[in-house]
Amino acid sequence: MKESGALFQLVVQFALLSLLAFGGVNVVLPEAHRFVVDVHHWVTDQEFADFFAIAQAAPGPNFLMFALFGWKVAGIFGALAAALAIIVPAGTLAFIVGGIWHRFRNARWRRAVQAGLAPITIGLVFSSGFVLCVAADHNWVTFAITAATAILALTSEINPLWFFLGAGVLGVLGLT
């Protein structure tokens, strides 16, 4: 009974975050952290950081880290409910707006809206990067990993898998 009440709260909150995640789910990570860690204590701070790392390294879209929060609260059904809560509201909106957007692709107002929103979206993605750096970079090794990844990924054609592998090896050596 307690579990189903918690799951209901989580679904409502995640559905709301789904519609507020302008620029992608990374934008609402700070809000998700406040909710599942600080307010409800469903997930510890450590688990939150580790789920984020798992989501980044796992083959699959990063937003499924929200399914892991649901899984902590109510097992496999919790995971499914949390995933749907993140997907359905935003997905429905994209379905509706996407069709209209494509139909008006040559209209001047549509080009202006798109061109005007682009720089703001870019600023929001930089914000996410910044917030994640603050969370992840707690010593000079982790800071160097972040910097090296950003620079090499921009300037070379190296497969991203190698960066994660390298970062994982440094972790095994106890340097992170």
Binding site: A94, P119, F130, A153
Partner: protein
């Protein structure tokens, strides 16, 4: 890289078309570390020729602006364009169905082994690399907008408001979006 002269391939009819969408988005989703979007370009533009470069960039910026996971939005938009609601659902299933179980399996492994120091060290290293990737994505997105000082100001203001001052997202958007759109409207004349 594809040129503007590349022929855009028409989607196949009926069930075949739905299977194509499911498979394409499953591939993108499973290879999605370091940002699924890099892989989406390869799969949809370079390999399958479903979209032109320009169409891809425009659809992407719409999907990045709309709330929610970018890859879900992208699947809904492209799936719908090719096969209506069935296409959107097929593409969405490609994005989520298999990875969902991968994540649950990893969550279960974490519960058993997450307390081990080495596991924590590995995850901590990966988090740091992942943060670097988000910055990479942001820098890449700026490329088509170089030499636009006013647009850069709006971008910087969004970063300061959201990243540094931690203001509510809706407030940042409500303050910055109208003048930025108005500026783009005037410039497009």
């Amino acid at each position: 890289m594809t040129s503007e002269h590349t022929q855009i391939a028409a989607p196949r009819e009926g069930i075949d078309g739905l299977v194509d969408l499911y498979v394409a988005f499953l591939q993108i989703s499973l290879s999605g570390f370091g940002g699924a979007i890099n892989w989406a370009h390869r799969a949809l533009v370079e390999k399958r020729h479903w979209m032109s470069d320009e169409d891809f960039t425009e659809t992407l910026s719409l999907c990045q602006f709309l709330p929610g996971p970018n890859i879900v939005n992208f699947a809904m938009c492209l799936g719908q364009r090719q096969h209506g609601i069935a296409g959107a659902l097929a593409a969405l299933a490609g994005v989520v169905a298999v990875p969902f179980f991968v994540f649950i399996a990893l969550g279960a492994l974490y519960t058993s082994f997450g307390g081990i120091a080495i596991v924590h060290g590995i995850l901590s290293g990966i988090s740091a690399a992942a943060a670097g990737f988000v910055i990479t994505v942001a820098v890449r997105l700026t490329r088509p907008h170089r030499r636009q000082p006013i647009a850069a100001l709006f971008g910087a203001a969004a970063f300061i408001g959201m990243g540094l001052l931690k203001l509510p997202l809706l407030l940042v958007l409500a303050v910055l979006a109208p003048p930025s759109i108005a500026f783009a409207w005037v410039r497009s004349r």
